[in-house]
């Protein structure tokens, strides 16, 4: 939506300039393509912008923040690799101590050296109650951080939390700057300094973030010198501006990405993801809380049609939070579309066809509302398709739109078309989505799902480092979800990015639901080798 901003009196000056037919005036932004040689700048269009750029408030917590580095980072296969740490951590046998050796000679972009104290400061600040970090629960297992000299950091856990190393991708903030400011509102939240491959030049809120390469980056200076991330919420406008050559790359929904299919100058990348779309079936709704209804809906829904049409093939059918191609997926839990079976389940459970084909049981009509966030076309289309499928089985689902402010208070009884997904570890999704103690806790466990067997399995999975035991635990969860599907998982959606071919062949990571600044083909933009 927001086009390039025009600073200060620039706009008025331009009016005047036009009036006298002058040729040019000050530029609206400093980004943009170089005029010759290898393209050393990139402008990419993204849909959301972060609320803050401070790692202490949650920015870049899943790694890859461009401005910062974590102790570890992910490679293209989502395997952990050392970053600010010299190597992967040494884990004690009881799984309660993680020891990291730090990389030497790393400097923040202001020239000050990076030390173990910065790591301790970062983690301790996040855990501080006064810090408004919404995801501090992810470090629940962490008891304390300890610096041993300038180059060693030791983490002590309260319980052996299996995926802990995955959490240490979070970016490290400089104590000498952030430590002197109010953590929640200081200048650091908008003008961050880090060790990462790029330095922030300017953040025009709601419009774009401009970065320039960090020439002293410990991993080598990036070839793409200038990086602009244009924040364009509206998909149509993003597509239009990409087509107009305004942007070098952009994330697009499937239907719009499809319009670039024949474009020789642009390549479409489909990043597989853990990003699922799901219908919550609230336990406290008389219809949606009924196991028979849940099971019927689970087989009545035509996931393949959704993938083929709504996602234009860019995605996979989803049967749980774990995508079917993940090593954590439990083979055999796929549900095929079977309308007859759905009807039989309902018939057997006593849901008899009533007026207008809507089933009734004990005077209760098989009908419930389904909310989606207004303006989200992908969710709207999923919701409408789901409702159409349900109708065929005799369940009436009334699709409603609203903002989160409207939807949130209704989540206890009304179904919601929700999304989520974190690829790093199965615990990340399943713990928040399915454990009964998180029922109704904000956007955690929105369906108030309550299954003791699942609770037990999740608890077991997160507290052991033994891969076999973990696999068994998550298999249990996925099998329980077949028996009592408190959510109808619909699809895992591929994230589609259309990028100018001059940047060569790019790669993508497996992406989470919440694709931040650094997801997409530009996850490793510091390593790009632009063509001439």
């Amino acid at each position: 939506m927001r086009a390039r901003s025009i600073r200060g009196t620039g706009a008025l000056a331009a009016v005047a300039a036009l009036a006298v037919a002058a040729s040019a005036c000050s530029a609206p932004g400093e980004s943009g393509g170089g005029s010759g040689g290898a393209k050393d700048s990139a402008v990419v269009g993204i849909a959301y912008e972060p609320e803050s750029l401070s790692p202490l408030l949650g920015y870049g917590k899943d790694g890859n923040s461009k401005i910062f580095d974590g102790l570890l980072t992910h490679d293209a296969d989502m395997s952990l690799r050392p970053a600010l740490a010299k190597a992967l951590p040494k884990v004690s046998d009881d799984g309660l101590t993680y020891t990291y050796q730090l990389r030497e000679g790393v400097k923040f972009s202001d020239g000050k050296p990076f030390t173990a104290q910065d790591v301790v400061f970062t983690y301790e600040t996040i855990l501080d109650k006064k810090t408004n970090n919404a995801s501090k629960g992810e470090l629940d297992a962490l008891k304390g951080v300890e610096a041993k000299g300038d180059d060693t950091v030791v983490f002590h856990l309260t319980y052996p939390y299996a995926p802990f190393a995955e959490r240490t991708v979070l970016p490290i903030a400089p104590e000498h700057i952030a430590g002197k400011q109010d953590v929640n509102s200081g200048a650091f939240t908008t003008k961050p300094i880090g060790t990462g491959p790029y330095k922030l030049v300017k953040w025009s809120k709601g419009e774009k973030l401009t970065f320039t390469a960090n020439p002293d980056y410990w991993g080598g200076a990036p070839k793409v010198k200038d990086l602009t991330m244009a924040i364009i919420e509206d998909d149509d406008i993003r597509a239009t501006r990409l087509r107009a050559g305004d942007l070098d790359g952009a994330i697009l929904p499937p239907n719009l990405a499809g319009t670039f299919a024949g474009d020789k100058d642009r390549t479409t990348y489909a990043a597989t993801s853990f990003d699922y779309r799901v219908v919550t079936l609230p336990t406290h709704n008389k219809v949606a809380g009924d196991t028979a209804v849940r099971r019927a809906l689970d087989v009545a829904v035509d996931r393949k049609a959704m993938v083929d049409s709504i996602l234009e093939g860019a995605g996979k059918e989803a049967y749980g939070p774990v995508p079917t191609d993940s090593e954590w997926f439990t083979k055999g839990t796929e549900r095929t579309h079977d309308l007859a079976k759905a009807k039989k389940i309902l018939d057997d459970a006593g849901w008899k066809p009533g007026e207008n084909g809507v089933r009734v049981k004990d005077g209760v009509k098989a009908s419930f509302p389904l909310w989606y966030k207004s303006g989200d076309k992908l969710r709207q289309d999923h919701a409408l398709a789901y409702a159409s499928d349900a109708k065929k089985a005799g369940i009436e689902i009334k699709v409603q739109a609203g903002t989160w402010e409207v939807i949130e208070p209704r989540m206890k009884t009304d179904a919601v078309l929700a999304g989520g997904g974190a690829p790093a570890d199965p615990d990340f999704d399943q713990y928040t989505l399915l454990t009964s103690e998180l029922a109704g806790d904000g956007f955690n466990n929105m369906a108030w799902y309550d299954n003791p067997a699942v609770d037990k399995a999740i608890e077991a999975g997160r507290k052991t480092n033994d891969p076999a035991k973990r696999k068994a635990a998550y298999d249990t969860v996925q099998r329980e979800l077949v028996k009592d599907p408190g959510y109808t998982f619909l699809t895992h959606i591929d994230h589609l990015y259309v990028v100018d071919t001059t940047f060569g062949d790019l790669t993508t990571q497996v992406e989470p639901h919440d694709h931040g600044l650094a997801a997409g083909p530009w996850w490793n933009i510091e390593d790009w080798q632009p063509k001439k």
């Binding site: 390039r4 025009i6 706009a11 300039a17 005036c25 000050s26 943009g32």
Partner: protein
């Protein structure tokens, strides 16, 4: 009326009366703005809108109650309506219109950066609409009931019924997608580092054309009516009887009298122009103030919305003033008394 008064010296602009009229209008604007801004606050107060949650954004959804309460106190939302309004007003007078939550900038900065582009778009569209509308209106009004009139009037009525956003979308489809001759939106190519007049002009063409098309019918129909009526009146009869060429009669007499009612109503077009700009800027992602208004509304950005509503009111009053001044200048029978 100035009947009986001594005639003003020919060719001299009556600055004095014009300045006095401007002054009177400025005085009238004060209560209008007070009422409008107070109305905005009253609507906000009556609505379920919670400025605290709006300020906190999505973080507000998960923020603790304690946190929200603190924010509530900081924002002064606890105070009664009148004192909040008064506070806003006094701050506004000192140039502080608050911070826009959606743009994450001070409201004054948002306005400063975007107003110029909106004025450019609106002015170009308005001038095109006036010129083209006058030409078509004269063509149609010259011979009402003729095929030319019917074609032009039908087109005008149809254009008037067509929503500008729909016209805009079709224009994008045709000119940007099918023909590929004009850019579909924005102000400049993002790839370039300068705002060049050429780029702005090519990006301006479609939105200005669509905005002009949305304003055009009104001008066409009023000029047509004005010319047709004037053609039936004595001054034109007199001019024809004098043996003036038809073109002179049409342009020098019928049009000049016929344009008068149009002039008086030009001021009333400012709201319509703003309405059109709201839609056109959104369709073409023109970085103007109207597009910002829509964004502010979608995100319930009250400080920005309130300021922009007041700004729009000022624009309307200004439009009325300019129209009346023009009318006074164009028609010597009318003074500057209003």
């Amino acid at each position: 009326m100035t009947f009986g008064k001594t005639a003003p010296a020919p060719g001299r602009i009556p600055w004095g009366p014009m300045a006095r009229m401007t002054g009177r209008r400025a005085l009238f604007a004060v209560p209008v703005l007070l009422v409008v801004t107070f109305g905005a606050f009253a609507i906000a107060a009556a609505s379920p809108f919670d400025p605290v949650k709006a300020y906190a954004g999505t973080a507000g959804l998960t923020a603790s109650q304690e946190n929200l309460d603190q924010l509530r106190a900081n924002l002064g939302v606890d105070q009664p309506l009148v004192s909040r309004w008064w506070q806003w007003l006094t701050h506004a007078l000192s140039g502080d219109l608050g911070d826009s939550s959606v743009m994450r900038q001070p409201v004054t900065q948002v306005i400063g950066e975007r107003l110029g582009w909106s004025v450019l778009l609106a002015a170009v569209a308005f001038v095109v609409a006036v010129l083209l509308g006058t030409a078509l209106g004269v063509l149609a009004g010259r011979r009402t009931g003729g095929w030319c009139d019917r074609a032009i009037s039908s087109l005008a009525y149809t254009l008037q019924a067509a929503p500008p956003f729909w016209l805009g979308l079709l224009a994008v489809w045709l000119f940007a997608l099918k023909l590929g001759v004009l850019p579909a939106g924005g102000l400049t190519d993002t790839g370039s580092t300068e705002v060049t007049a050429g780029q702005v002009l090519s990006h301006l063409a479609l939105p200005a054309a669509v905005l002009a098309a949305s304003q055009l019918p009104w001008f066409v129909l009023y000029v047509r009516q004005g010319v047709a009526d004037a053609l039936d009146e004595d001054p034109v009869r007199g001019a024809r009887a004098r043996g003036l060429a038809p073109r002179t009669v049409l342009l020098g007499h019928a049009l000049r009298s016929g344009m008068l009612p149009v002039l008086t109503l030009i001021g009333s077009r400012v709201p319509e122009l703003i309405t059109g700009a709201l839609l056109v800027e959104t369709v073409f992602s023109w970085p103007g103030i109207a597009a910002a208004t829509v964004e502010a509304a979608t995100a319930v950005d009250f400080p920005l919305l309130a300021a922009l509503t007041a700004l729009a009111t000022v624009a309307v009053l200004l439009g009325n003033l300019i129209a009346d001044l023009l009318y006074g200048l164009a028609d010597p029978r009318v003074g500057f008394d209003g």
